[in-house]
Symmetry: none
Subunit: 200 residues, 4 copies
C-alpha cells in the first residue's frame, strides 16, 4: 500500500528493527533480511531510505546518540538548581537512564564501538559522542576548579561513567543503576572537594 510521506515513518521503523536485530543476534548476524523481516517490510526498501547497510547502521547510531542528548537536555530543563554539582549529577543520571542501560542499547553501543575502529564514518560519530560527555563534564567542573583540575576531573568522571556502563553491559546481569550512580557521585564529590575556598 504505497503512500506518500512515508520516509520518516519507515526510517524510524527500520532503525527500531535494527536495534531489535542487534539485540537478538548481534551486529555480525544482523543481516538486511533479518532487519527487514523484523520491520515487516521487504529487503529492497532499505536501500530506498538509506543508501546501504552502513547508512542504516550510522542512522541507528545517530538515533541512539540523539536519544541520550535529548534525555540530558530534558533533565536540564526540569532542573531548578543551577549549581555545578546538580548539573554533574544530572549528566550522570542521564547516562545511566533506562534508555541507555537496557540490553538492546548496550549491545548496540558495544557493537558500534567495535565497528567504529574500522569504519571512518562510525568513528567520527563516536568521537563526537565521546567528546560531548567530556566537554559537558569539564564545563561544569570548570566553574569551581582550576582548568587543569577540571580537565583531569572530567577525564576521570567520563572514564568512570563509561567503565561502569561497560562492565555493566558485559556482565550479562541486570544493570545495577543505583550502585553505579553512587560510585560516580562519590567520584564527583571527591573532585568537587578540591575547589578553592570561597569563604573570606
Amino acid at each position: 500500500m504505497p503512500k506518500v510521506g512515508m520516509q520518516p515513518i519507515r526510517r524510524q521503523q527500520l532503525i527500531e528493527a535494527t536495534l531489535q536485530a542487534v539485540d537478538q543476534v548481534g551486529m555480525a548476524d544482523a543481516s538486511i533480511a533479518l532487519i527487514a523481516r523484523l520491520a515487516g517490510v521487504s529487503n529492497g526498501i532499505i536501500s530506498h531510505y538509506f543508501q546501504d547497510k552502513n547508512g542504516l547502521i550510522a542512522a541507528t547510531m545517530r538515533y541512539l546518540m540523539n536519544t541520550l542528548i535529548e534525555n540530558v537536555a530534558a533533565r536540564r530543563q526540569a532542573l531548578g538548581d543551577d549549581s555545578p554539582r546538580a548539573h554533574l549529577q544530572l549528566i550522570i543520571e542521564g547516562n545511566f537512564d533506562a534508555s541507555q542501560v537496557n540490553g538492546p542499547a548496550m549491545k548496540t553501543w558495544l557493537a558500534f564501538w567495535a565497528a567504529s575502529m574500522h569504519q571512518p564514518s562510525l568513528h567520527r560519530l563516536q568521537r563526537i559522542n565521546d567528546h560531548r560527555l567530556y566537554s559537558n563534564l569539564c564545563c561544569q567542573f570548570r566553574r569551581v576548579l582550576v582548568l587543569e583540575d577540571a580537565r583531569s576531573a572530567a577525564r576521570g568522571l567520563a572514564a568512570l561513567i563509561d567503565g561502569l556502563w561497560l562492565r555493566g553491559a558485559l556482565s550479562g546481569d541486570a544493570f545495577d543503576t543505583e550502585q553505579a550512580q553512587q560510585i560516580a557521585f562519590e567520584y564527583m564529590d571527591m573532585q568537587l572537594a578540591k575547589q578553592v575556598g570561597t569563604g573570606a
Copy 2:
C-alpha cells in the same frame, strides 16, 4: 615432509595471524583465508588445529588474557614492597602495560567484547577476566578497608581502569599512559584514605 610436534608452533602462528588480521581489517572482515595468508599456511589447516573459526577466536582471546595475567604476575614477583598500595599500583600499571594499550590488542579486545555478547563461549572467558580484575583489586582493598568499602572501591577502580582504557582505545590517538595512570592512582589513594585509623 610431515613433521612432528608442530602443534604448538602452528597454533601460536595462527593466533598471531588472527591478531594481525583483526588489527588490519577488523573482526568482521578477518576471514579464515586472510588469517591463513597472514600465517603463511593453507586455509584448510585451521580446522586441523582448531575445531573451527570460533575455536581460533576463543584461543586468541585466551592468549591475550594469559598475556595480561603473566604480565601482572611478573610484576608481582619483582615487587619488594608488600603494601596494599604497592599491589594496587602494580595491577593498574599491568593493565596499562604496552602489551595492552597498543592498537592491535585494543581492537581485538573491543571486538571480543562485542562478540561476547552473543557467543556464550566468549562470554564465559570475558566474565572470568572481568572478575579477576575486580577480585584482585577487592582483595587488596580488603586489607585496609571494611568489606563494603573494599567492594565499592574495587568496583569503582575496575570501572575507572576499563573506562580509561576504553576511551583511550576509541579515541584513535596514541594512548596517554601517564595521564591514565595518574587518574587511576588518585582514585586508588582516595579510596585507601578511607581506611580506619591504625594508630592509637
Copy 3:
C-alpha cells in the same frame, strides 16, 4: 497539475535521456532509475509512455535510425547533380555525418547491435537498417554496373562503411571523418570504373 499532449514531449525527453545514459555508463548499467533521473522525471513514468524498458530501448533505436534516414534524405534534396557517383558520395557522407560518429551515438549503436543478437524486436529493426544501406548503394551502382557487379559493389561498400565506422568507434580516439571518407570514395570509384563503356 495534469497536462494534455505531453506524450511526444515526454517520449523525446526519455529517448534523449536514454542516449545520455548509454553514453555515460553503457547499456548494461543504464537503469530505468538513471534514465529517469537524467530526464528529470520519476521512475514510474517510463512504463506509462513505453510498455517497459525494452520498449524504450527499441524506441531509442528507431529514433537513431530515423535521424540517419532524415539526414540522407535532406542531403538528397539539396543535391543538384543526379549522377550515381553523386548519390553514392552523399550516402557515404550521410553515414559519416557528425550525428552518427559522435561518442554517444556510436556507443548506443554498438550496444544495440550486441543486444539485437538476442532480442528479436531489436534484431528486426537492425536488419531493416542494414538492408537499407545495401539497397540504397545497390540501387545507385545498378545504374552503371551489371546486376552482379552492382550487388558485389554494394556489399563491399556497405561493409567498408560499417567497418570504418566500427573501427572508429572502437578506437576510442576522435573519428577521422576525412580519412574514412577518402577510403570509401576510393572504393566507390574503383567499383564505378568497372562500368561498361557508354561510348560508340
Copy 4:
C-alpha cells in the same frame, strides 16, 4: 573430487562455458550461475580461478584472440609462397576461418566490443587486437607500396574485413565466407595494383 593441478582444466572449462552461455542468452543474461551450471561446477569456483566475473570475461576474450592469432600463425607456417599477396590472402582467410565466423564466437565478439566501450580492461585487449590486424596488413602492403599508400590500404582492408564480418554477424543468416573473401581479395588486389612498376 578435489584434485591438484586442476587450474588449467577448470579455467578452460569455464571459458568454454562462458562462450556457450553468451551464445545462448547473450552477455547481459550470462550470469555466473548459468555459466557454472553449463560448466557443471559450483558458482563459487569462479572466483577461485578468476578474480571475479570480469576476470572470466577478460580471460574468455583473450582466449578468442589467441585462437585467431594461432590460426593465422599456423597458416603462415604452412605457407610456401612468401609473396605479399600470399601473406595478405592468408590473413584474410584466417579472419574468416570457421573458428571466427560461427555463431557463438560472433556473438561473443560483438558483446565484448560493446562492453569494451565502458570497461578499460576489455578496451585495452580490443585495441591490441584491432592494432594487430592493421599492423599485419600494413607490414605486407609496405613491401610493395610507398608508406602512405600502404597505410591507407591497410586501413581500408582492415575495415573491409571487419565490416564484412560485422554485417555477417548481424544478418543472422549463415556467413557466406566465399563471398566475403572474394570482396576482400578484390580490394587487396586493387591496392596491390598501385605498386610502382618493377619492370624495365
